[in-house]
Assembly symmetry: C2
DNA sequence: TCTATACATCGCCACATAACGAAATATATG
DNA sequence: CATATATTTCGTTATGTGGCGATGTATAGA
């Protein structure tokens, strides 16, 4: 759901979800393996984004749609999106050092 | 997936999946609470069916579609459907006593 | 009313999953 | 080349889930 606002690097997701780096990294690798997200590496950062590739599996597309519709009104999700929007104008590099929301 | 062939009572599902009665009953109650299946009681039997009510939630509909598409080619699912089709002509009451596939 | 059958509920145990910290790897920078 | 930062991998621990048997409830039939 966080990735709907655009790609995020691991440390941004860490700050958003307040989880350990290792936890987020592991989850993202699982999501990537499942074909739900893609990643690109830029320098020290790895940016994850939703898989919107036309060649993605229909199952992945449906799963993403379902999760989006099932959680888009969840108060926690809404709070998270609010935090993300407040930082969306910042340069990702700056964000990574300044820590999201601080 | 088994309910795609029509409604089934708990003991039929027990025979199909080779699980304990309590396990099947628990799972069906969870599926019912989630709005994925409905049930009707007839005498001592409780028949479960997929929730195809037009008033069902869109989330439930999508979830059912997703599961169907994700598993319809699974070999275990195909075997199970084969077993069900072999018994589809029988009277449910008779089925319950004769045990599916025996 | 008593018994048998079908289903639901409860408590317990085994196993799977998710979390963390520590250590390893990769890359930019001094 | 050494250091700092970002990410990944590994091992351990805590929590969640799925399974069963025992027990309780409802209904049909003797």
């Amino acid at each position: 759901m966080a990735l709907r606002t655009g790609e995020l690097c691991v440390c941004q997701i860490v700050e958003l979800l307040q989880l350990a780096h290792s936890t987020v990294s592991k989850h993202m690798s699982i999501l990537k393996q499942a074909g739900l997200v893609e990643s690109r590496k830029k320098g020290r950062w790895v940016y994850y984004r939703l898989n919107n590739d036309p060649g993605r599996s229909f199952l992945a597309e449906q799963a993403l749609n379902w999760v989006c519709e099932a959680t888009s009104n969840d108060p926690v999700i809404l709070d998270d999106l609010k935090i993300l929007n407040e930082n969306v104008r910042l340069d990702p590099d700056a964000l990574c050092k300044s820590k999201i929301g601080k």
